[in-house]
């Protein structure tokens, strides 16, 4: 069954979706847990097996065709899978971290009545995500792309009794769709120019001797619009913070570790295209950096534990796009890999905190949890240090490489990019340690009621936290970008700047510790210092808390006008007044004319006779006149 391995990997979670969805409610939580976690774990092992096969074979990739979707003329739309080093890494992350989060969910969602529904949705998500990363063509990728959007919608709005949560799901889907429109346009252009949608063929065409007849930058930009939607970059970032309405494991899996990295995966996968699209890459780098910066500034003032992490995710994704924009594709994927570990650990840790606090998510009402939930605290601290870039944890390695290439890459790197990115890293370290302190280390500000119930989470949850914390600690030693070198070459570095490499590493470490120190100084005693600062910089604080009022701007510029135009112009003026109005006008004209004409029918016999005689006389006269 060697050749069907990839199809099997993809189909295992789909089986989970059907089994849990159809039989789950009847067969109970045990069945759902076993199927819901077991199938992703099986997929993980299947991936490992495929990986060994890949390493053993000479070819750069394993290819498999599941079936032919459609044939039109000479073109065959195939549902095919492609397993090279990049796919292998992504699939391992998806199935590996995914399985861990499934296991965590058995503890977190234990008391939820929608248990079976939750796991079926989660399995469905995994199916589509695997389609996305294993797809050989833009078509299969797009199927997975839209599919994860669907799963995200279902899971964000999981507790749909609350209209706000349901609305958050809808917002995510619509924002993604806007990006998808760009994706479609890019896909159409590629099909027209190259006659193929296969990733390997596209890369080969752009890397080849003859440049294709379409502008690589145009295609690159269009596909990037899609990536912006999925990976929550400016201007389509607005859905991610709202997506925190979903259960926390969902936030960890979909909105941190996997789905949001789809955009980075797309750009990295098409590195052949983007290497020949300098304008598009420039835009990607700038957008990524801007997003990283702005999201970091917003995260500094957030008071909901999940929202801090959400903005942090947006910011980290921005850094990944920065790396992509300067041609460091392998480095971006490296950060995807490390980010999956520490961000999942952070989100799941937050979940553990929320679980311990019986649902409280406001960090102003926390504090002093370190001693009460020690495992959560330690794992959270490790992951925080990792994201801040403290060596030798994973985040340090990946972030440092990004900063280096932002500075030194020949494909668009500059000191300005490096400086702003470093400042964002400083803010990241600051707000993450702020979060750590306010949640765990400061004196308690908890409600007495909540304080009594604080308890450590079950092993299903803490076990996963420990695994992820260890991975966050040691994961950085596996240099993903070297592993991916055959698939995506490293960018050319400006050799003149080589001597600055070590000093820059030093600055990066200093930045990480500076953030730690800053957070310690401001928050060690609790909220007092912060409140004073907030009063001094009230205006700035308001703008940041209002997330730069982007949501309000969109509503005012897009949402309301669309509704207003649709209702008042199209419906009232267009349909009712113009079209139906003219129709009703025509019919009333016909009726009035008929009414007037029918006055000839007086009912008077002699009048009719008179008319008849006049008619006869006229026709006689006419006949006599015309001979």
């Amino acid at each position: 069954m060697r050749m069907d391995l990839l199809t099997l990997i993809v189909l295992l979670p789909l089986a989970g979706f059907f089994l849990n969805g159809l039989l789950g409610p009847r067969l109970g939580k045990g069945f759902v847990s076993v199927v819901g976690c077991g199938l992703p774990i099986l997929a993980f092992f299947a991936t490992l097996r495929a990986f060994t096969q890949l390493q053993a074979s000479d070819a750069g990739a394993l290819a498999e065709t599941a079936y032919t979707w459609a044939i039109v003329g000479d073109f065959r739309f195939e549902i095919a899978f492609w397993f090279d080093r990049l796919s292998a890494l992504m699939t391992l992350i998806v199935t590996g971290v995914g399985s861990l989060i499934h296991i965590y969910s058995t503890g977190y969602m234990k008391d939820d009545p929608g248990y079976a529904r939750y796991f079926s949705y989660l399995n469905l998500f995994l199916f589509f995500m695997l389609l996305l990363v294993l797809g050989r063509s833009l078509l299969v990728c797009f199927v997975g792309w839209e599919g994860v959007g669907l799963a995200s919608y279902l899971l964000i709005g999981f507790w749909f009794d609350d209209p706000a949560k349901a609305a958050a799901g809808k917002k995510a889907f619509i924002t993604n769709r806007i990006g998808d429109a760009g994706f479609l346009l890019g896909m159409f252009l590629i099909y027209h120019a190259l006659g193929t949608l296969d990733f390997d063929a596209i890369n080969a065409a752009f890397n080849g001797p003859v440049a294709p007849a379409v502008s690589a930058s145009l295609v690159g930009l269009l596909l990037f619009v899609g990536a912006t939607g999925k990976s929550a970059q400016i201007p389509l970032h607005v859905w991610l913070p709202d997506a925190m309405a979903g259960p926390t494991p969902v936030s960890a899996l979909i909105h941190a570790a996997t789905m949001v990295t789809a955009g980075i995966y797309l750009v990295a996968r098409l590195n052949g295209l983007y290497l020949h699209a300098p304008e598009a890459s420039q835009v990607i780098a700038v957008v990524g950096l801007a997003t990283a910066f702005f999201a970091a500034t917003i995260a500094v003032v957030q008071t909901d534990i999940k929202k801090v992490l959400a903005y942090s995710t947006v910011s980290q994704l921005g850094l990944m796009f920065l790396a992509l924009g300067v041609g460091a594709y392998g480095v971006a994927v490296f950060h995807v890999y490390t980010h999956a570990f520490f961000k999942a650990c952070l989100f799941l840790g937050a979940g553990s905190v929320i679980h311990a606090m019986s649902g409280e998510q406001d960090i102003r009402k926390m504090g002093g949890l370190a001693k009460k939930i020690p495992i959560t605290f330690v794992t959270f601290a490790v992951a925080t240090a990792a994201i801040a870039g403290i060596p030798p944890l994973a985040g340090f390695f990946s972030k440092d490489e990004i900063l280096w290439f932002a500075f030194a890459s020949e494909y668009g790197g500059s000191p300005v990019l490096w400086a702003l990115a470093s400042f964002s890293a400083l803010l990241t370290s600051f707000y993450m340690f702020r979060l750590l302190w306010l949640t765990f280390l400061t004196p308690s500000r908890m409600d007495h009621e909540a304080e009594h119930h604080v308890h450590e989470s079950p092993v299903s949850m803490t076990g996963v936290l420990v695994v992820l914390a260890i991975l966050s600690a040691i994961g950085g030693f596996f240099h993903v970008y070297d592993f991916l070198e055959p698939v995506m070459p490293m960018p050319v570095e400006n050799e003149a700047l080589e001597h600055l490499k070590l000093p820059l590493i030093g600055i990066a470490i200093a930045v990480a510790f500076a953030g730690l120190a800053g957070a310690f100084l401001v928050y060690r005693g609790g909220l007092a210092t912060a409140e004073r600062l907030q009063q001094r910089f009230a205006g700035l604080h308001r703008v940041l808390s209002g997330k730069y009022y982007v949501d309000e701007l969109y509503e005012a510029v897009l949402g309301k006008p669309l509704h207003w135009v649709s209702e008042h112009v199209f419906l009232n003026v267009g349909d009712r007044t113009l079209i139906d109005g003219s129709l009703h006008g025509l019919t009333s004209l016909a009726q009035r004319t008929a009414g007037r004409l029918s006055r000839v029918e007086t009912g008077n016999l002699q009048f009719y006779l008179l008319l008849a005689v006049i008619g006869v006389a006229l026709s006689l006269a006419w006949m006599w006149g015309n001979g």
């Binding site: 009912g603 016999l605 002699q606 006779l609 008179l610």
Partner: protein, 100 residues
């Protein structure tokens, strides 16, 4: 004036008198009488032409016309009678139910 022309003039006059009578008079029976007058005018012209051209077909036609006229009166008078019973008047203006 020629005898034929005189007779034709008379028949036209009869016809027109009858026509005008039908158009002007409102009494149903009088309208019927005027229609008879029109028919007679036509019959007179038929006989005149027959006599003028020396053929018989015009004269034969007269008989046809008379029979039809008689049949017509035979049906028209009862109809008028029934209508008159309903509306209690012979005024044609009362029967304008098909107005509009």
């Amino acid at each position: 004036m020629d005898r034929t022309q005189l007779l034709l003039t008379l028949s036209i006059a009869l016809f027109c008198l009858g026509l005008v009578g039908v158009m002007i008079r409102r009494n149903a029976l009088v309208m019927l009488m005027c229609m008879e007058l029109m028919l007679n005018g036509v019959v007179l012209s038929l006989v005149t032409f027959a006599a003028h051209s020396g053929t018989l077909s015009g004269a034969v036609l007269v008989f046809l016309v008379f029979v039809v006229a008689a049949a017509e009166i035979g049906i028209a008078i009862p109809i008028v009678l029934l209508l008159a019973r309903q509306r209690h008047t012979l005024d044609v203006g009362a029967y304008s139910g098909l107005k509009g």
